[in-house]
């Protein structure tokens, strides 16, 4: 019976340890086959936040610069595409290539229409920050009581 949270923490710690051991077992064979359990995979993962007049969007885009990203907005449809180059240096021998390369695209349907003229996008530390102001019709309105 668990009486304290630290007991549960320890239980999960033991499971993590087992998982790491198993991972090490597989990584001995070249390809990191076993790490898929531990890998935090997926590309162009996105968060969407709503605050009154704006949508705030965050996307994970590691290794992409602003030239290689493309953002399209129409109404409430948002499409982000990008490409990442394999930065294989000349004359090097490859040990592991897990990081993907190529072109990526993802589209979203936002809950409301967006004023595409005032959208702002910034790129910092491999995260794309989008500020999407809602269109006038979609903005919340203050009602006065008569």
């Amino acid at each position: 019976m668990f009486t304290r949270f630290s007991d549960i923490d320890r239980l999960f710690g033991t499971m993590d340890l087992l998982r790491q051991r198993l991972d090490n077992l597989y990584t001995d064979y070249g390809r990191p086959y076993g790490t898929r359990w531990l890998m935090d995979e997926g590309f162009l993962r996105a968060n969407l936040y709503q605050s009154g007049d704006n949508f705030e969007m965050r996307l994970e885009v590691p290794g992409m610069d602003k030239e290689s990203l493309d953002i399209k907005i129409q109404g409430n449809y948002l499409e982000i595409s990008g490409s990442r180059e394999q930065n294989l240096p000349e004359g090097y021998k490859v040990h592991k290539t897990e990081r993907g390369a190529g072109t990526f695209s993802r589209s979203f349907t936002l809950p409301d229409d967006v004023d595409s003229n005032r959208v702002e996008a910034t790129l910092k530390d491999g995260i794309l920050y989008l500020t999407l102001p809602k269109s006038e019709a979609a903005k919340p309105r203050q009602l006065s009581i008569k």
Partner: protein
């Protein structure tokens, strides 16, 4: 190895832990040539100050903490605050003094030069 004893032993002085960061491993590329080992690691959202690279006795550990500021109500969230952790064994021949790390667009590039003694050497054959 330390962790093992830590788990097995119940310590009554253990203070209840507050919420810990979820640990995750991210993808890496590792290349090598005659002069150096080159490692690329994805670290999206990790600021320079939150990233640590440790080489100790043939063990390289990377750790990057991502703390994102959020505002407003979340409609959907596919990623969050996380600690990117990954450990590697590196040869003892790495010249630790000369290791260079560079963080660009959320990707860490780690140059680990090999020490002079470890570089391959061409041996000239003399005729007697």
């Amino acid at each position: 190895m330390e962790k093992k004893t830590e788990i097995a032993k119940r310590n009554d002085q253990n203070i209840e832990k507050t919420r810990e960061l979820y640990e995750a491993a991210r993808m890496v590329d590792i290349y090598e040539n005659e002069d150096e080992i080159l490692l690329y690691a994805d670290m999206p959202g990790v600021a320079k100050d939150e990233l640590s690279v440790n080489i100790d006795n043939g063990r390289l550990s990377l750790s990057g903490v991502r703390k994102l500021e959020t505002s407003g109500a979340a409609s959907w969230e596919e990623f969050g605050n996380v600690e990117f952790v990954r450990n590697f064994s590196v040869p003892q021949t790495i010249d630790v003094e000369k290791v260079e790390a560079e963080l660009k667009n959320g990707v860490l590039a780690l140059h680990m030069p090999k020490s002079e003694e470890a570089k391959p050497r061409q041996i000239e054959i003399r005729t007697a």
